[in-house]
């Protein structure tokens, strides 16, 4: 067995021995994927509404029937104005629709709990479309492209992948290298005749393999459980993910040369990478909604480019040529970070 192989074997054993590490490494991606896939969504369904009717007529009766039968709403009944206000305040209803009949003509007012703006906007849009559906009678054919079932999971999966690889590659690699520095075993290896490059590769390869396993796991789960269409784009998705994994490993290496304690490495990778990935990469919040300065700032976050590219490939099913810019940016970042990390590593000795 060569030195390189034995180094990798040592690292693998070390990785697999700690039960909690395995738990975090394998269970967390799956849990996040399933949570986002099934539990967390930004779409609004199930708006709880109440109606206030000043004067019951056939028209209001017909209107209430329409709300009752619409699957987007949970119709909680007809109440008095005071009761409606109380329910809104306590958060037990999201919107109230008030019907008035004046001069024989029905008018309505939508009162929404706008403390949750998204809910209020959507509820208003839904209510308007139901209430007006016979008035003007504009025939409109609607259809949705790319994600016809409108699953927000489709939108989240690339984000989760972007986050997990940073977590596994950057965070765990840096912590593992720094812990060897703390215990002094790194010095032991460095004074041995093994070349430093070999030592570092021996550290990185196991995490690279682990990331490949996770990638396979996520893609399989995405395809089977979340039913993300992958057939056409699987090769480019894997390709760009591998590039991103290498970039994340390089980041981990860079952090490990900067931090001197495990906790510092954790905080640095947590504050510098995890938070920006969650907040600024477009994973949950669309980049184009951010102020200009932050949009510029988000350009230096690798996950932003990765997530954008995977969305285009995976959801829009466009060919790899349409993400050329993202691939170039990621490749460029990888080279720069790798060069910096190697330079720092040599400077340390």
């Amino acid at each position: 067995m060569s030195i390189f192989q034995s180094l990798i074997k040592k690292e693998m054993l070390h990785l697999l021995r700690d039960f909690r590490t395995i738990l975090v490494v394998l269970v967390m991606p799956v849990t996040l994927l399933l949570l986002f896939g099934f539990a967390i969504s930004t779409e609004v369904n199930n708006v709880r509404i109440v109606a206030v009717v000043e004067q019951h007529t056939d028209e209001t009766k017909e209107m209430l029937e329409r709300f009752r039968n619409n699957p987007s709403f949970t119709f909680e009944g007809t109440v008095s104005p005071g009761e409606a206000e109380r329910l809104l305040r306590k958060g037990e209803a999201d919107a109230a629709i008030v019907f008035r009949t004046k001069n024989g003509r029905l008018s309505h007012q939508i009162v929404a709990d706008a403390s949750n703006t998204t809910m209020a906007q959507t509820a208003t849009a839904y209510l308007e479309s139901v209430a007006n559906s016979n008035a003007a009678g504009v025939p409109i054919v609607s259809r949705t492209l790319y994600n016809p079932q409108l699953k927000s999971a489709y939108n989240f999966v690339p984000g989760i992948m972007g986050m997990i690889f940073i977590l596994i590659c950057a965070m765990m690699t840096s912590v593992s290298i720094v812990s060897e520095k703390e215990t002094g075993t790194m010095d032991l290896l460095l004074v041995s005749p093994v070349r430093p490059g070999t030592i570092i590769l021996g550290k990185l390869v196991p995490y690279f393999l682990l990331s490949c396993i996770i990638l396979a796991l996520m893609l399989t789960l995405g395809y089977t459980v979340l039913e993300i269409p992958l057939s056409a784009s699987v090769i480019p998705v894997i390709g760009i993910s591998l590039l991103y994994i290498v970039l994340a490993l390089a980041l981990g290496l860079l952090i490990s040369t900067l931090a001197s304690t495990q906790v510092a490495a954790l905080l640095v990778s947590g504050v510098m990478f995890m938070l920006p990935v969650v907040l600024l990469s477009g994973m949950i919040f669309p980049v184009e909604n951010m102020p200009r300065a932050l949009q510029w700032f988000s350009c230096i976050i690798p996950a932003r480019w990765y997530i954008e590219a995977v969305r285009v490939l995976m959801i829009q099913q466009l060919p790899a040529s349409s993400v050329r810019a993202e691939i170039l940016v990621l490749a460029g970042m990888t080279l720069v970070v790798l060069a910096l990390a190697i330079k720092k590593f040599h400077a340390k000795r």
């Binding site: 305040r89 008018s107 009162v111 929404a112 403390s115 308007e128 054919v141 409108l150 489709y154």
Partner: protein, 369 residues
């Protein structure tokens, strides 16, 4: 419980906190970062929906529809195209979210009493933006059409309708976000930091030195928690000041009910933190476990994405997550002026969790093996 011992231990904690290279900076930087950056970023407002129009009609009516969409505060027109695939290209490169296609002879057909169809296509990649955007576009088009018909005396006049947005009339997403963000601060200050501190003493071996002294369990744990409780309340205060000075947001309800919730939630988090610390031997272990809790708390507690959007089973799980109640209280007090009486359920739930987790913390704390 010995007051003199507690004072001595507290003095020790404060001295060490002051000399720690990271903690004081974290305490200052975190509220500022969280309160200033996240509200800028975390917005799910659907504004600025890009609409690509395929106008095959090119009449007064079709141009009027385009102009009305452009005038809507939520929509902007990325361009009018002669062919559908040109508009599709706009969507593929992410400029357009919605394609509205106006068929040939649209105006003529309406005039002659037919009912031609308008096609609205939404980009489903961002499901929420796509759906809402399509609705806005359809509404704008419908409004143009009814007006146009009314002017010509055809069709029915539209029913009168208006909308009233209670509690947050400008529909500002930040007003929704800011009160809830304090949860992020308290989770870190009252949950994460004491855990790191306790496990740190375990790793350093000083906890054993304390265990052979007459210092009681209660005094020792209290000396760990009181400083972070104080810092937690301080940070909530700073958060409220930032909300007021930067965003002009003041609570509609009483400040007292905010502090009451903050105190209860601090107790919840510190109980959880101590229990995790008791069960962990190394800093790394405790961080992993704490991290898992933080991810679930922040993603499922209703902070960034509404609980109401979750499926029933997932909503069921959120009842077991203390941050859910804290977030509900903060939003209701801040925006709706709700009183503790209105929110009795949430307060009682938080108090229950605080009691339960404190008991769990006490039960798992072992001075003797």
């Amino acid at each position: 419980m010995n007051a003199r011992t507690l004072t001595a231990l507290l003095r020790k904690e404060l001295l060490m906190m002051k000399r720690n290279p990271i903690v004081p900076r974290l305490i200052v930087a975190m509220p500022v970062l969280v309160m200033l950056i996240i509200p800028l970023v975390a917005t799910l407002d659907v504004k600025d929906v890009g609409v690509a129009v395929v106008d095959n009609d090119r009449t007064e009516l079709s141009r009027r529809m385009v102009a009305d969409m452009e005038a809507s505060e939520y929509l902007h027109i990325t361009g009018c195209y002669a062919r559908h695939d040109e508009a599709l290209r706009q969507m593929e490169n992410g400029r357009a979210d919605v394609i509205v296609s106006i068929p040939e002879d649209y105006q003529k057909d309406w005039t002659s009493g037919k009912k031609p169809r308008l096609a609205v296509e939404a980009n489903g990649v961002d499901a929420m933006k796509g759906t809402l955007g399509a609705q806005y576009a359809a509404r704008a088009a419908a409004r143009s059409l009814t007006q146009w018909q009314a002017e010509r005396g055809i069709g029915l006049p539209a029913a009168e309708s208006n909308t009233m947005n209670l509690y947050n009339p400008t529909l500002n997403f930040r007003n929704y976000m800011i009160p809830a963000l304090m949860v992020v601060l308290l989770i870190i200050v009252c949950g994460f930091l004491p855990t790191l501190n306790l496990v740190g003493e375990k790793e350093a071996g000083t906890i054993e030195a304390m265990n052979v002294t007459p210092v009681g369990k209660l005094e020792f744990v209290l000396s760990k928690l009181i400083p972070y409780w104080a810092v937690g309340l301080l940070i909530v205060t700073v958060g409220m000041l930032i909300g007021w000075l930067v965003y002009g947001l003041v609570p509609e309800g009483s400040v007292g009910s905010i502090y009451l919730a903050a105190i209860l939630f601090s107790l919840v988090m510190s109980g959880l933190g101590v229990a995790i610390a008791n069960r962990s031997a190394t800093i790394l272990q405790s961080i992993f476990v704490m991290f898992a809790f933080i991810v679930v708390f922040q993603l499922m507690g209703g902070l960034f994405t509404p609980i109401a959007s979750m499926p029933r089973w997932a909503q069921g799980i959120t009842y077991a997550l203390p941050p859910r109640y804290f977030i509900e209280i903060m939003r209701a007090v801040y925006l709706k002026g709700a009183t503790p009486a209105d929110l009795a359920v949430q307060y009682v739930a938080l108090a229950g969790f605080a009691l339960l987790l404190s008991l769990a913390a006490a039960a798992t704390y072992r001075r003797r093996d």
